[in-house]
């Protein structure tokens, strides 16, 4: 038989935090600088596909990518999920949709938010348009959200 160990189990809180920095490189750097100027750019692969947001290396072949292409500021929702009760850290303070949005001229979809007001306004295949933040800084949140395109 094992004898029970009669000892107090101690615990203590340990908070560890310090800042990191990131160099975005020439491709993501150009994309973010474009957002600052309210322009959305992707890159074209050797196979002709336009990737938005751009990546430095072709995910299929590994080749470096450098041919930038400006794409449209509106596009099609390819899939979405409704957030009925946003939390503190969500980008919008009212119910919204997370959505994958394929911008006009792009072959891939960008993850962002759609401010549709109500879930009933959301549909796969619907058209949405970018809404820029008032002041831009060169980051993805320069796109405040997307909103249903007026038909």
């Amino acid at each position: 038989m094992t004898e029970a160990i009669n000892a107090e189990t101690l615990s203590a809180t340990h908070i560890l935090e310090y800042p990191y920095t990131r160099s975005v490189g020439p491709v993501i750097g150009r994309f973010l600088a474009g957002l600052r100027d309210r322009r959305i750019e992707g890159v074209r692969t050797a196979g002709g596909r336009v990737l938005v947001p751009p990546v430095e290396y072709d995910p299929r072949t590994g080749e470096p990518l450098s041919e930038f292409v400006e794409v449209g500021q509106a596009g099609v929702v390819s899939t979405w999920a409704w957030v009925a009760a946003p939390r503190r850290n969500h980008p919008l303070d009212r119910p919204f949709a997370w959505a994958l949005i394929r911008l006009d001229g792009a072959d891939t979809a960008l993850l962002h938010t759609v401010d549709a007001g109500d879930e009933s306004k959301m549909a796969t295949g619907m058209r949405v348009r970018v809404r820029w933040r008032e002041s831009t800084a060169g980051e993805i949140h320069d796109i405040a959200c997307f909103e249903p395109e007026a038909s």
Binding site: Y20, S23, G62
Partner: protein
């Protein structure tokens, strides 16, 4: 061992305090693309990728293998990450070598990196976890007492560490990829530099660098088809031991001695001092040069400092150590071990440029990590074993 293993491609970045011109993917890509070009291969010619970096907390990148797969042309291929603290660059190369030796893959790309400018290695190594002894202040704070113990035991004169610091920085001037370029370095300058962790002065410590290193390893058939003369792997060994254990000798760790003995046995080396032409040792603080010379059997215990003092380890000495300038001149932590392994390969290929050791035929690549508790080593030679 079913297959021979050879290095047919070596690549590294220019190392610098901050490579703000490239992202992390761009940094590893730079080294990997150079290794491929050196091997006369394209991404298509690679069967698998083995990547290493030092602890996750350094850059806050938890899964570099996931983050960097497309930059390393690994889509549709196996990629894995190796992690053994500071020795990781060495152990990453060894895992790649094992994949070749085991006959699993014919051509393996191995890459290691650190982007210290985006990280916080000093403070990542200074955490004080509740109920555990703190590791004090960074790696220097941890290793300084071991160095003091070495000096006391060996009765080494105080200038030995400074001799190493000067020698490695002068060697670095011959290496176009080296981070530190200190053409005016002198014993007086080292002596006058601030004491960071007694007895380690500022100029006796490694810099913080951004950089990456890559190699292409292949089997005997692959080596036959490669455009240049390969560096043949004669032996590989890794050992580890606990960071804190009763009776553990942290100055001359048993894991390092046993790792070297295993390595020399595989490579048929009975007298390392005579049979090894050049050694690329992991020396982040100057005094680790004499300490590892003893641990690796190049000198008797307590006599390693004599090799330094007598000029034996100079680039024109009879056992050149770190002709590239070593970790004291470039320290992208995760890559630092692989840079030692790659330097050993370049030396026996006769391609080390201005820091080439004349007639180098057998070279040692060495890495250590953690609290002197992980060791990774290889011997490479110009001749097929």
């Amino acid at each position: 061992m079913a297959e021979r293993c050879a290095v047919i491609g070596v690549g590294q970045t220019k190392h610098a305090a901050k490579r703000g011109d490239v992202s992390m993917p761009g940094l590893v890509r730079e080294a990997a693309a150079r290794a491929l070009e050196d091997a006369g291969l394209t991404w298509r010619g690679i069967d698998a990728v083995v990547i290493g970096k030092a602890p996750d907390m350094f850059e806050g990148v938890m899964m570099p293998e996931l983050f960097l797969a497309d930059a390393l042309g690994a889509v549709g291929k196996p990629i894995m990450r190796v992690h053994t603290a500071g020795s990781v660059g060495g152990s990453t190369a060894l895992v790649a070598a094992y994949l070749v030796q085991a006959g699993v893959h014919e051509r393996v790309l191995t890459v290691a990196f650190e982007k210290q400018s985006e990280s916080n290695a000093m403070w990542a190594l200074t955490i004080s976890v509740p109920f555990q002894p703190p590791v004090v202040a960074g790696a220097g704070g941890y290793f300084a007492p071991h160095i003091r113990a070495y000096i006391r035991r060996s009765e080494a004169p105080a200038h030995v560490g400074m001799l190493v610091a000067v020698k490695d920085r002068l060697n670095a001037l011959r290496n176009p990829y080296a981070h530190l370029r200190l053409p005016d370095i002198s014993l007086e300058q080292v002596a006058a530099s601030p004491m960071l962790w007694d007895p380690i002065r500022y100029l006796e410590a490694c810099p913080s660098s951004d950089g990456a290193c890559a190699m292409v390893l292949t089997n005997g058939d692959g080596a036959k088809r490669s455009p240049g003369a390969p560096a043949w792997v004669w032996g590989t060994a890794m050992r580890s031991e606990p960071v804190i254990a009763y009776g553990r000798d942290q100055v001359n760790p048993r894991a390092g001695r046993e790792c070297a003995a295993d390595l020399y046995g595989q490579a048929g080396i009975t007298n390392p001092r005579r049979e090894i032409d050049v050694a690329a040792l992991y020396v982040p603080f100057s005094w680790y040069a004499p300490m590892w010379l003893e641990n690796l059997g190049f000198a008797e215990e307590g006599r390693g400092w004599k090799l330094v003092e007598d000029g034996v380890t100079a680039i024109d000495g009879d056992l050149p150590v770190n002709p590239s300038g070593g970790v004291l001149s470039s320290n992208p932590i995760g890559a630092s071990g692989m840079l030692r392994f790659a330097e050993a390969a370049l030396q026996v290929q006769g391609r080390a440029g201005e820091h080439q050791v004349d007639g180098a035929r057998v070279a040692l690549g060495h890495a250590y990590g953690g609290g002197s508790q992980f060791f990774a080593m290889w011997i490479v030679g110009s001749e097929k074993p």
